[in-house]
Amino acid sequence: MLLTDFALSLDAGVLLHLRGRNGAGKTSLLEVLAGLRAPLRGQVVRPEAGLHWLGHKNGLNGDLSLIENLQYWCALQQCSAAPIVTSLERLGLARLRYRAARTLSAGQKRRAALARLLVAPRPLWLLDEPLAALDVAGLDDVGCMFDQHLQQGGAVIVTSHQPLPLADGRMRTMELS
Amino acid sequence: MWTWFHRLASPPTFYRLADRYSPWLAVLSLLLIGYGLVGGLWLAPPDYQQGDAFRIIYVHVPAAWLSLSGYVAMAAAAAVAIIWRIKLAECVVVAIAPVGASFTALALITGMLWGKPMWGKYWVWDARLTSELVLLFLYLGVLGLNRAFEDPRAGARACGLLALVGVVNVPIVHYSVEWWNSLHQGSTVSRIGKPAIAASMLWPLLSMTFGCMAFFGWAVLRRVQNDVLLRERRSTWVAALLGERKAAGHV
C-alpha cells in the first residue's frame, strides 16, 4: 500500500511531472492509471480515445527489426501501420528500421519506443522515465513532441528524475512522498 | 447480508472473531478426537474379516475425506479471492494448502499401512490411492508455487488460479484412473466387501470425522490469523492490537 487518499485530475493541454524518491510509488501509480494494475480501492477514469503507455521496458523484441516490432504493436492496437516510417524518421531512426532491435544502443531503443507515441494519436500519454538513456538531441526531440502534443490539446503524465525539456506554464509538478 | 459479508472479510473484524472462536474449535476437536480414538481403538469390537487392522479407518477415513473437501474449500476460497478480490480469501487459500496436504499425506500413509496386511503390499495402483496421490501432487504444486513468489498477494492469487484449475481436474483424474483400472481387470486389487457397519464402530468414526474437521478449521483459522497479521503489520489496527496486548501484559 503506497498511496492513500489520492486524487488527481488532469486537464487537456497540461503536462504533469511526477517526482519523488525511489520507491515512492511513481511507477505503481502510472501502472494503475494505465490499467495494468488494479487499484485496491477507488476508481480511475481514462479518456475514451485511449492512452499511450510507455513503461521502463521498451516493448521491443530483440530478434525482430524495429519496423516489425512497430507493425506488431499496430496490429495489437488495431491502428494503421502507415505512419511508422515517418515516426521513426522524426526520432532519427529511419535508417535503422530494418536492424534487429538487439543490435541497437539503449538510447536508440528508447527512441524507438517513443516513436509509438507518434504512430497513433492518443490524448493521454503515460510515460515512465522516458528520458532514460537519451542523449542531448534526444531530449530536444522529446521536448518537441511534448510541445506539439500539448498544443493539440493532449495531456502527459511523466515520471522523471531529470528536469523535463519543457519549461513553461503548461507544466505542473507533483511530489510523491 | 452483503454488508455483513464484507464486514467479516475485513481483516480486523475477522481477526477478533477468529481470536474469540478458535479456542472453542480447538476444545471441540480435542473432545471429539479423544472420544473417537478411545471408542475406535479400545471400545469398538474387532472386525470379523479384518481383525484389528480395520481400526486404521478411524484415522484414514477422516483424513481422506478432509483431503478432498479441503481442496474443494481451497478452490472455493480461490474463486472468492479472484472474483471479488477479497484479501482475506487469498489468505485462506494459502492457509488451507499445507493443512490439506498434511491430511492427504496422512490418508496415503495410513492407506499404505492398511494395504500391507490386507493386500500383501504397501502400494497397489488402486483407483482411490492413485487419485489421492495425484491430489497430493496438486497440493504440493500449490505449496511450491506459493513459496516461489516474493509478493504474498501475487503468490496467493497465482495459487488460487492453480487451485481452481486443479479442482476441475480432480474429478477428471478420479474417473480417468477408474477407467484405467477397469482396462486392467484381473490385477491384484480385490475389493473387500463392505458389510453394514455396527453402531459401536460407527459412532467413534463420526466423532473422529467431526473432530478432524474442527481441527482442520482451527488450524486454518490460526494460519489465516498469522498471515493477516504479517500482511497488515504496518496498519494501525495491528499496532493498536499489539498495544492492547502489551498493556494487558501478554507480549
Binding site: 501502472e31 494505465a34 490499467g35 495494468l36 494494475r37 488494479a38 492512452l51 503507455w53 513503461g55 521502463h56 521496458k57 521498451n58 516493448g59 521491443l60 523484441n61 530483440g62 530478434d63 525482430l64 516489425e68 506488431y72 504493436w73 496490429a75 495489437l76 492496437q77 488495431q78 491502428c79 | 479472484i82 495425484v134 501432487f137 496438486l138 504440493l140 504444486g141 511450491g144 508455487l145 516461489a148 513468489f149 509478493d151 498477494r153 501475487a154 492469487r157 497465482a158 488460479l161 492453480l162 481452481l164 484449475v165 486443479g166 476441475v168 481436474n169 477428471i172 483424474v173 480417468s176 484412473v177 477407467w179 484405467w180 482396462l183
Partner: protein, 222 residues
C-alpha cells in the same frame, strides 16, 4: 479479434524461423529419450512393445516441457506483454496465438516423429493410427496446461524447476487416455472411447485454459 490473433501467430512463427534451435531440439531430445529407454531393457525384448505407449507419451511430455518456460518470458521481460494487455482486444487473442504456436512448433512435430519411434519400439503398425490420433488430441492439451503454468510463473526467477511440478499432475488424465487408447488398440479393443474423452478434454481446455492463462499473466503485473 482474429486480426490480432493472426498477427501474433505470424510473429511466433517468424521468431521461430529465426531461432531454429528452439523447436528443433525437443524432437532430438525425444529421440534420445526413447533410444535410451530401449537401451535400458534387453535387446529385442518382446516386452518392449507393451511399454511403448507409456514411453512414447512420457517422452512427448518431457520434450514439450523443454521450451515451455520461455513461452511468455521473453515478452514479459522486454515489455511486449504490457503492450498486449493495453491493446485494442486485450491479451486473450495473443495468448491463444502463443498456445497454438507452441503446439504447432512443439506438440505437432513431436507427435509426428512418434510414429517412426513407435515402429522402432516394435509397436504393431495397426496401432499407429490410434497412437497418432491420441497424440494429436493430447499434445494440444499439454500446450494449454503448460501455457497456463508458464503464465502462472512468468515473473519468477526459477520457474523452470517449478513448471514440471505444476504441469505433470494436471496432465495425468491425458496420459491415461492417450496411452490407454494405444494399449486398447494393441489389445484389439475399440479405442473410440478414450479418444472421444481426449477430444472432450481438449474442447474444455481450449475454452477455459487460455482464459485462466490470461488472468495469470495479468496477475504478474501486480
Amino acid at each position: 479479434m482474429f486480426a490480432v490473433f493472426a498477427a501474433a501467430l505470424r510473429r511466433e512463427l517468424r521468431l521461430a524461423a529465426r531461432h531454429k534451435g528452439d523447436w528443433l531440439l525437443p524432437p532430438l531430445f525425444y529421440l534420445i529419450v526413447v533410444t535410451l529407454f530401449a537401451l535400458g531393457g534387453k535387446p529385442n525384448d518382446p516386452q518392449l512393445s507393451a511399454f511403448a505407449p507409456a514411453v512414447l507419451w512420457v517422452g512427448v511430455l518431457l520434450s514439450a516441457l523443454l521450451n515451455l518456460d520461455r513461452l511468455f518470458r521473453a515478452d514479459f521481460d522486454d515489455g511486449t506483454l504490457e503492450q498486449c494487455f493495453l491493446g485494442a482486444q486485450g491479451a486473450m487473442p495473443v495468448v491463444y496465438a502463443k498456445l497454438i504456436g507452441h503446439w504447432l512448433l512443439g506438440g505437432l512435430p513431436l507427435s509426428l516423429i512418434a510414429a517412426p519411434l513407435a515402429l522402432q519400439l516394435d509397436v504393431p503398425a495397426t496401432v499407429l493410427p490410434t497412437l497418432l490420433a491420441g497424440l494429436l488430441l493430447g499434445t494440444p492439451m499439454l500446450s494449454l496446461i503448460g501455457g497456463f503454468a508458464a503464465a502462472l510463473t512468468v515473473g519468477l526467477p526459477r520457474a523452470a524447476v517449478l513448471l514440471p511440478v505444476l504441469v505433470l499432475p494436471l496432465i495425468g488424465p491425458v496420459v491415461i487416455f492417450g496411452a490407454g487408447a494405444a494399449r486398447a488398440a494393441a489389445a484389439g479393443l475399440s479405442a473410440a472411447g478414450p479418444l472421444y474423452l481426449l477430444a472432450s478434454l481438449l474442447v474444455a481446455g481450449l475454452c477455459l485454459l487460455p482464459l485462466a492463462a490470461t488472468v495469470a499473466l495479468r496477475n504478474s503485473f501486480d
